[in-house]
Symmetry: C2
Subunit: 270 residues, 2 copies
């Protein structure tokens, strides 16, 4: 995959100008990548509680400044505007998808909108590459496959729903190394949540080749198994499962993340 943008602000500026509309895997290595969900202020407290109770799928890394200001709180990035800084956006109205992968959300951002940034597993992919365990989708140049599951989140206020997971195939003999490498990245999903056919059964994933988000994977080799991580698309699934969440809600297009100025070291556990 083309690694065109060395820093997070380079990626954000390329998104803002419209020059970059692709998935962000492999971009700005060494920087943290984040998922976005934009909610009305009245749901902000419930959403923070949802993140606190479900930190594996919804690790809250930061927020916008409040009062409708679309800039991140520092130190996520001084020159920022969540309305334009992802390569693509989804828009929901009353829990139903209204727009898929549009270039910006200027027309939907409200005076009381708050943007929440949730850690993304792309952040630990460089560490997997460094260990000779390069994720398959980085080799094929595809978007990572993501799946709805039947694993219920622990409810919080108005929010309820099921976890979304991302998948990378590995040999079973490599799973413990993959767990060890990704475990410290507690703010970007950490170690896998499940793996193998037993993991698919536990999560209620029936067809590996029909992911709900991202690209379908190429066929796994005979000695490979799917390995699943919590995924920050989860809040978008939650929006569609929470009947009391009305009005416009916005998120990034899955795989097209907001890159922030936090170095990877800042999201590692001590």
């Amino acid at each position: 995959m083309l690694n065109a943008y060395p820093t997070a602000i380079d990626v954000r500026r390329a998104c803002r100008s419209g020059a970059f509309r692709e998935p962000t895997a492999g971009q700005c290595p060494g920087y943290t990548q984040t998922n976005l969900i934009v909610l009305p202020e009245k749901h902000a407290a419930s959403f923070r509680t949802l993140c606190e109770r479900n930190p594996v799928s919804c690790p809250l890394v930061g927020e916008t400044r409040g009062n409708g200001d679309p800039r991140f709180r520092t130190p996520l990035g001084e020159d920022s505007d969540v309305r334009f800084d992802a390569p693509g956006y989804n828009v929901y109205e009353n829990g139903k998808l209204l727009h898929d992968d549009i270039p910006d959300i200027r027309d939907y951002w409200q005076d009381d909108s708050v943007g929440f940034l949730i850690g993304c597993s792309f952040t630990f992919e460089q560490a997997l590459c460094d260990a000779g365990l390069t994720p398959r989708h980085m080799i094929t140049g595809a978007n990572v496959p993501m799946y709805k599951t039947n694993y219920p989140l622990l409810p919080a206020g108005v929010f309820r729903g099921e976890m979304v997971v991302s998948m990378r195939p590995y040999k079973r003999a490599d799973v413990e190394r993959v767990r060890d490498i990704t475990r410290p990245y507690v703010k970007t999903h950490g170690e896998p949540v499940a793996w193998g056919p037993e993991g698919m059964k536990q999560l209620g994933i029936h067809d590996l080749y029909r992911p709900e988000f991202g690209d379908a994977p190429e066929p796994l080799a005979d000695d490979e198994i799917p390995v699943f991580w919590g995924c920050g698309v989860t809040p978008q699934q939650v929006i569609m499962s929470s009947p009391h969440v009305n009005g416009f809600v916005m998120g990034h297009a899955p795989g097209k993340m907001i890159c922030v100025d936090l170095p990877v070291a800042a999201v590692l556990s001590s």
Copy 2:
């Protein structure tokens, strides 16, 4: 229920002297109550990660001082000894229950033992009483009923297992108030995880009158439903589900908590 001990240190001293061997619900209102799990140092890092990934059932409030010192880290209590400070203890050997509700663990504590204190839902019961929603087991003087579930924890290192929950019956019309009252207690399980027949189904609880821990509840009234919270007995269930955890592991006897000097306000979310 007799409220014999006004402060946490009073409860601990009564346990240490052997004078108090009962469940601790209703004792030292205004103080935090905690579950205990004692592990060998080699599993401590994995256990901290388990708590970080599963904070609703395993909210880590504190630890002992390390290097086999059985005293809490301050500010949990200066005059403390986890080997004696609960009214009763369970002991496990190689994942199997060896002793049930013995008065102390002096014979099993090791040079490398670390005690972890996990928030207990008894901590928010005074707030429910203050709102006229007194938990049933406080009225009947029984131990709270606790159930194994089939809700998988998110794995961490050597640890895997299923959540244990506690149950208090309420009218369905009161559930939103009960949720609101308990939600801020993020370090003592917070708001319920599930409720009603639909919650029993989700958690895989088949018989409300046969809990795995604590006392069986009296029959619910026609207009009542069971309301379930995460429970700090979960780590003991984890020990029995994690095949790579060997040697002696100790915990409190379910319902017989270690009371610590932290005021309730210290475990409330801001």
